[in-house]
Amino acid sequence: MSKSTLVSTSVNGDVVDFACPADETLMNSLRDRVGLTGVKEGCGTGDCGACSVTLDGRLVCSCLVLSVEADGKEVGTVEGLADGDKLHPLQEKFIDHAALQCGICTPGFLVAADALLKKNSNPTEEEIRYALAGNLCRCTGYDKIVRAVQAAAKDIRKAK
């Protein structure tokens, strides 16, 4: 059995402490110990973006981060995107635009798109496509995803 290390983090604004082996990824800790299975594993090698989370506001693949690296840091996941019962504009627009088919990549896309829109609330189509190039979707051909992000950006700009 592996020896465990204590990790103290904030996840979506809540204090979360857990113990895990030193070689455990943040993705596995979030899924298996914290219970946030909105963090998806598509590859485990940082190629698909399904496990995207933010670490102190920076977009990362949680499968490439060790949990011990998250100690003392703020983690943001798809579960923290909605404000209570009010969906985030990206969540609303993904549903409105049918930007998901199977939905497995959706949490990663939402976290990545949110990270983009926080930096740039008026991205061009090309900027959206490059910002989301680290997230793989096999169902949609990305068409409706890009349109949903454009629509959400418009809503966010209007609300400002």
Binding site: M1, S2, P21, D23, R31, L36, T37, G38, V39, K40, E41, G42, C43, G44, T45, D47, C48, A50, T77, V78, E79, L81, A82, L87, L90, Q91, F94, I95, D96, H97, A98, L100, Q101, C102, G103, I104, C105, T106, P107, L110, E126, I128, R129, Y130, L132, A133, G134, N135, L136, C137, R138, C139, T140, G141, Y142, D143, K144, I145, V146, R147
Partner: protein, 752 residues
């Protein structure tokens, strides 16, 4: 009560609009539970040990050290999965693919598996299992495997479809031939004859969610399986057979599914998880890694194809001949037959012959991949059509229109076409603004057609009406891309109630009768038909109850816009009874109100498409980029247009990935060299433009709403559309897909 599946033209209220899907919020909040998202008290972690050799005899598997490791609760090998297939060769192949039986047949073939208390322990245990192999010669290329000098992988395989039966075993599992007319006469009539050979490499469905399940088997022979699958009823039947369990005692629940595209119509590690759970007497969660997904699940065939076409000066194709060689991985398949069925299906060619060879190689067992086998055949035929058009001196689109298959033409595999949409699709392409748009430097435009026959099959659906008049729609076809929305819309349409009044659920195998897989573009066609029929059953009950409440004959009650109305002059004063009012009284008028339907949905409508593709080729690097793309396809009737467009766009994108980048790369050592998304490159967001779509609606006469399947055809044209566009951009004809930068560069160099 028998219901008619015949198409009846009607004005739709709900169908054809764009509602929000009922599972939308769960999927954007992370709440939706997929294969790997379930847990159970005391669950163990399952891991699989896989062969590093493409072909090897397994002399010994020593698990003693692994068994002694603290935290290891069960280890299984093929000895724990005794052969109970009773001579069913297909089932025996599935069993052997799940776990090697004395011989590893491909790099990645499962050899043993462990269940341990955690991931780290399970991995450690795998490293302690000692397998003694004797390496055997291997073959991974389809043409090499057909060579009489090649190593014969299965000594008991004699080519089927050949008379007299061969006396020597070979890697050619089957020969298929179909067609009609006389090709020799046809070629004799031709003014122009074009011949060309093509190769396509092996690709993977590339669903983002790896195979995952949670298995729990009790010593009393009952069990449960939570699994990501395209068909939990079929998984139940197969797993129960392999494990020697009673079908009714294995309850299978389909999780949300993170993509399948055919790859989740086959069992892979599920029987292993069940065997581990049975041995450990604890739940076992088994999730495949991405590397395992590539090495040991899914891929489609690599192929080698020869095409010969002959035509008169006026463009009439007088003969078509195609030989298709498809590898099915390490087991006999039927993939070349599907190539034969589809190769010439878009055209009315009087004299045609398709010959297919299913070939065994040391690669993973091939699985269905969206219109399986059709894209490769279309790549060969649709590319050759352009060469023929050039010879004749007419445009590719006019050559296609001249020979297009219409109602009454004979399909390559025998049936006479009913109303089909390929001519309309080609005309829509010809008239599309995309065809007139100006191309920039280094850009070229290509078009191509595609066909998939679509299937129906066994379906079972329940409708149960709650006391408040809300409706539970219980389905057994797995929702892979939004079908709970479209099925709810169909139920609302039939019952005459708002979409929001219907709640669709996918039932587990203990709660509904058998449903075939969500495959073959059958989901909306079949489950839609069963939903319509179940709703009509429920309406019959509602009318009975209304008649009883009013005290009038059943014949005097009609169902209009979600309410019962009394017809006939004598009942003029009776106000209508709403579904809610009837439901509220149901306890006193005969009990719960429900409608059921079990059907073998027959008469699937064939799917035809035509695509337009603009590429820009960088002649320095050989990289081709998609500049513009348009999909035109006949949907029969688009129930929820958003998700129909989504199928068109997603299929086209998979085809584009296949055309430009995706391929399995095997080394001389027979090992897969690119088992990950970094080196097996599927299209990313920045690779693509918006994918334009045009939905045609030519009703399928064998569905009450005219529905055809739409899921698969869209992957068929892109390989050829891209190849034709590259040819127009560069003057160089690519005959090997993917048309990756190194291949294009090599072809450009060779041409200059």
């Amino acid at each position: 009560m028998a219901h008619s599946n015949k198409y009846v033209e009607k004005e739709f209220e709900v169908v054809g609009t764009r509602f929000r899907r009922p599972d939308g919020i769960d999927k954007v909040t992370g709440r939706a539970r997929y294969g790997a998202d379930a847990s159970a008290p005391g669950a163990l972690v399952g891991r699989v040990l896989r062969s590093p050799h493409p072909h090897a005899e397994i002399l010994k598997i020593d698990v003693k050290k692994a068994e002694k490791l603290d935290g290891v609760k069960a280890i299984v090998t093929c000895d724990d999965l005794p052969d109970q297939t009773n001579g069913d060769a297909g089932l025996a192949a599935i069993l052997e693919n799940c776990m090697a039986r004395g011989r590893a047949l491909y790099d990645g073939h499962a050899v043993a598996a462990v269940a341990a208390v955690d991931e780290q322990t399970a991995r450690k245990a795998l490293s302690l299992i000692v397998v003694k192999y004797k390496k055997l010669p291997h073959v991974t290329d389809v043409d090499e495997a057909m060579d009489p000098k090649a190593v014969v992988i299965h000594k008991n395989v004699f080519t089927r479809g050949v008379e007299p039966k061969p006396t020597k075993s070979s890697n050619v599992a089957a020969r298929t031939q179909m067609g009609h007319g006389d090709i020799e006469e046809g070629f004799a009539e031709a003014d122009f004859i074009v011949e060309k050979s093509y190769k396509t490499e092996q690709t993977h469905q590339g669903y983002i969610e790896p195979h995952a399940c949670l298995a729990s088997v009790s010593p009393d022979g009952t069990g449960e399986l939570w699994v990501t699958t395209q068909g939990h009823f079929v998984f139940r039947n197969v797993c129960a057979s392999l494990l020697g369990m009673d079908v009714a005692k294995l309850k299978v629940t389909s999780s949300e599914i993170g993509g399948g595209f055919g790859g989740k119509t086959h069992v892979w590690a599920e029987p292993i998880a069940l065997a581990l759970s049975r041995k450990a007497n604890r739940p076992v969660k088994l999730v495949m890694s991405r590397e395992e997904v590539f090495r040991a699940s899914g891929p489609t065939s690599s192929t080698s194809i020869d095409v010969k076409l002959g035509a008169k000066k006026n463009g009439e194709i007088t003969a078509g001949q195609v030989e298709l060689r498809y590898q099915g991985g390490a087991f006999p398949g039927t993939w070349a037959m599907l190539g034969c069925m589809t190769a010439f299906a878009c055209y009315d060619i009087k004299n045609q012959q398709s010959v297919g060879y299913d070939v065994i190689v040391n690669r993973p067992k091939v699985a269905a991949y969206r219109a399986p086998s059709a894209p490769m055949a279309a790549f060969a035929v649709e590319s050759t059509l352009e060469l023929l058009a050039d010879e004749i001196g007419m445009s590719g689109i006019d050559l296609r229109l001249k020979n297009v298959a219409r109602e009454g033409a004979k399909a390559p595999y025998g049936p006479i076409y009913g109303p089909i949409g390929i001519e309309a699709a080609l005309k829509a392409v010809k008239d599309h603004p995309h065809m007139k748009a100006k191309l920039k430097k280094n850009q070229g435009r290509g078009i191509a057609c595609g066909f998939w026959f679509n299937i129906g099959g066994q379906t079972c659906t329940d409708i149960n009406i709650g006391v408040d008049g809300t409706v539970n729609l219980t389905l057994g076809t797995v929702d892979v891309g939004g079908s709970r929305a479209s099925m709810s819309m169909i139920a609302a349409e039939e019952l005459g109630i708002p979409y929001e009044q219907v709640k669709a659920n996918i039932a587990d195998t203990g709660s509904l009768g058998h449903n075939d897989m969500t495959e073959g573009s059958r989901g909306t066609f079949s489950s839609g038909m069963a939903t319509i029929f179940a709703a009509r059953e429920a309406i019959g009950v509602l009318k009975q109850r209304a008649a009883a409440m009013w005290g009038i004959p059943f014949e005097d009650v009609a169902w209009e816009k979600g309410q019962a109305v009394a017809i006939g002059k004598t009942h003029n004063n009776l106000p209508p009874l709403s579904l809610q009012e009837i439901a509220a009284k149901s306890g006193r008028t005969g009990g719960p109100i429900a409608g059921h339907n079990e059907v073998v949905a027959d008469g699937a409508g064939m799917g035809f498409a035509a695509h337009i593709c603009d590429v820009e080729v960088d002649k320095e690097t050989g990289r081709s980029s998609i500049a513009r793309y348009t999909v035109v396809q006949d949907a029969g009737k688009a129930i929820h247009p958003d998700y129909v467009e989504g199928q068109f766009q997603g299929g086209a994108t998979q085809g584009i990935g296949w055309a430009l980048n995706e391929e399995y790369i095997y080394g001389d050592d027979g090992r897969l060299q690119n088992a990950g998304f970094l080196d097996y490159r599927i299209p990313v967001c920045s690779d693509l433009p918006f994918i334009d779509t045009k939905i045609l609606e030519i009703p399928n006469p064998n569905h009450p709403y005219g529905v055809r399947g739409v899921g698969e055809t869209s992957i068929v044209p892109p390989l050829a559309a891209v190849g034709n566009a590259i040819a127009n951009a560069t003057g160089v004809r690519m005959t090997h897909a993917p048309m990756s930068p190194p291949r294009v560069l090599k072809a450009l160099d060779a041409a200059s």
